[in-house]
């Protein structure tokens, strides 16, 4: 089981999708309409740069103390899907943008 989890964890950064209701998006809208939510998931091990290694080391040597720094690349959307429009429970239409990812990458 742990092997499985570990294996899944090591998948490289890519686009995944899930069917969720608009309410489940947690954006404050109440609607039973189902939308396709695309998100980025996976690791970015192969995208580690000398920058990351150096930053880690400099931090380890306590040259950086109080600042918040991130010494590894992150799997994030590079582009977002088109707008999503839906009818809410009060029969009003809404359009929201940049809800769902279109393309992922390690940044």
């Amino acid at each position: 089981n742990r092997m499985k989890r570990a294996k899944a964890h090591h998948k490289p950064c890519s686009l995944k999708e899930l069917e969720v209701t608009v309410s489940e998006l947690g954006l404050g809208y109440t609607s039973d309409e189902t939308v396709l939510f695309r998100y980025c998931s996976g690791t970015c091990d192969s995208s580690v740069r000398n920058y990351d290694l150096s930053l880690r080391n400099v931090r380890k040597m306590r040259k950086i103390k109080k600042e918040k720094v991130r010494a590894r690349p992150c799997c994030r959307p590079l582009a977002y899907d088109d707008d999503i429009s839906f009818l809410d429970a009060g029969n009003r239409y809404h359009t929201v943008n940049e809800v769902s990812a279109k393309e992922c990458g390690c940044v």
């Binding site: 039973d32 429009s85 009818l87 239409y93």
Partner: protein, 447 residues
């Protein structure tokens, strides 16, 4: 403005003529060329390649530019031009919904047909090719798309399911979002941009396959929330409602000035005309054609919609009334009732919501001109369609449809071999059928 626009069109058509006048060998005029269905853009090219045809057509368009049909017919030259053109491929040409150059095609169509009819009669023949596919094909696709077993979730809200199916399809989702975003009134302003809203609604209904659009527009409902969602499909606050309703005949006159609107309305009248000779009250028992031409009206000022969110009475109407019709009151009522009290349209909507359809008569099946769908003709008529049922019957709501369906199953099927389609629905595109239907066509023209 409009006259100027028409004139401009003529000028640009002339250009087309001149460029096409060159290779005249390509269309040595077949004597019966007009019998094979060609679209009007192609027919125009064929005519342009033929010097006698193109000069007569130019004459006719100049005659019609005067806009008074009686003066036109008094002119011998105009009359002669019209007579010659009736032998040309331009006569009897059709257009397709959503085709390339649809507007040009329709402009060519009406330039001939207005000469023939004067454009004053109550119902006009559709410039569009007859629809040959069946609802059952759509159901099949729709259930594949949604991946749901319709029988298992009888409690569900079908209109919500339809929205889900659309959201999960990128093309449908994008075009839906586009029209909603353009039709939705912004919070800070009083009015929406109706022209833009209509434009994107038309785009949605023209470009998204009907297995998505019909499901959203004609879903069957058991509660008010569902029916309200159905009514809201076209964003009626922007696309439909107005401070005051115009007179229906005024609305129709407005529509007839625009070749696209005029064509969609004529198509609606052709395919949804209540007929008392057929089982379903629809011409050729073709529900799909009626629903398609209903959907084709959306995004014009004449757009119909459900008048309320009632689950039991399915009443649709354009946003107009018959107040102030003067002595045209009867005509106006007649026009309005083709929406509000039309058994063909109502049966078609109910049949779609229930996932039932009538199969085409097995004898003399329509021969589609371009893309034949042998599936429809080969499959055994009824059992196939029963399997298509998308939903459980809502017996409380359905009256006419179920009874029709039942009577078909029990008594009528064995006799179907002798069932003769009274309107000759296949006449326009089956070549053998055309000969026998010639009197019909001629009568149609004379009317």
């Amino acid at each position: 403005m409009i006259v100027a626009g028409v004139f401009c069109l003529f000028l640009s058509l002339d250009k087309v003529f001149h460029t096409w006048a060159g290779p005249s060998s390509l269309a040595a005029q077949e004597p019966h060329g007009w019998r094979t269905p060609v679209d009007c853009v192609r027919a125009n090219e064929l005519c342009a390649a033929e010097s006698s045809c193109s000069s007569r057509y130019r004459t006719l368009r100049q005659c019609l530019a005067g806009r008074d049909r009686n003066t036109m017919l008094a002119n011998k030259e105009c009359q002669a031009a019209l007579e010659v053109l009736q032998e040309s491929p331009l006569y009897g040409c059709h257009c397709k919904r959503g085709m390339k150059k649809e507007l040009l095609c329709l402009q060519i169509y009406w330039s001939i047909h207005l000469g023939l009819t004067g454009g004053e009669e109550f119902y006009e023949a559709s410039p569009y090719e007859p629809v040959t596919s069946r609802l059952s094909d759509i159901f099949r696709l729709a259930s594949i798309v949604s991946g749901m077993d319709p029988a298992t979730n009888s409690k569900s809200n079908h209109c919500l399911d339809a929205a889900k199916a659309c959201n999960l399809n990128d093309n449908c989702k994008t075009l839906r979002s586009t029209y909603i975003a353009n039709c939705n009134k912004p919070f800070d302003t009083y009015r929406c941009n109706r022209r833009k809203c209509h434009k994107y609604l038309r785009q949605f209904f023209d470009r998204v396959p009907s297995e998505y659009t019909f499901r959203m527009l004609f879903c069957s409902c058991k509660d008010q929330a569902c029916a309200e969602r159905r009514r809201q499909t076209i964003v009626p606050d922007c696309s439909y409602e107005d401070k005051e309703k115009p007179n229906c005949l005024d609305l129709r006159s407005q529509c007839r000035l625009d070749p696209l609107c005029r064509s969609r309305l004529a198509d609606f009248h052709t395919n949804c005309q209540a007929s008392f000779q057929s089982l379903t009250s629809c011409p050729g028992d073709n529900y799909q054609a009626c629903l398609g031409s209903y959907a084709g009206l959306i995004g014009f000022d004449i757009s119909p919609n459900y008048i309320d969110s009632s689950t039991t009475s399915l009443i649709v109407s354009p946003s107009c009334s018959c107040r102030g019709s003067g002595n045209m009151g009867e005509d106006c009522e007649k026009f309005l009732k083709d929406f509000t009290e039309n058994p063909c349209l109502r049966n078609a909507i109910q049949a779609f919501g229930n996932g039932t359809d009538i199969s085409p008569p097995p004898k003399n099946p329509p021969v589609p001109p371009v893309t034949p769908s042998p599936k429809v003709e080969k499959s055994p008529p009824l059992p196939d369609d029963i399997n298509d049922s998308n939903t459980i019957y809502d017996t409380s709501m359905i009256t006419t449809c179920t009874s029709i369906q039942k009577s078909l199953t029990t008594d009528l099927m064995p006799e179907q071999k002798t069932f003769v389609d009274p309107k000759g629905s296949s006449s326009r595109h089956s070549i053998t059928g055309t000969l026998s239907a010639l009197p019909f066509l001629l009568v149609k023209v004379a009317l």
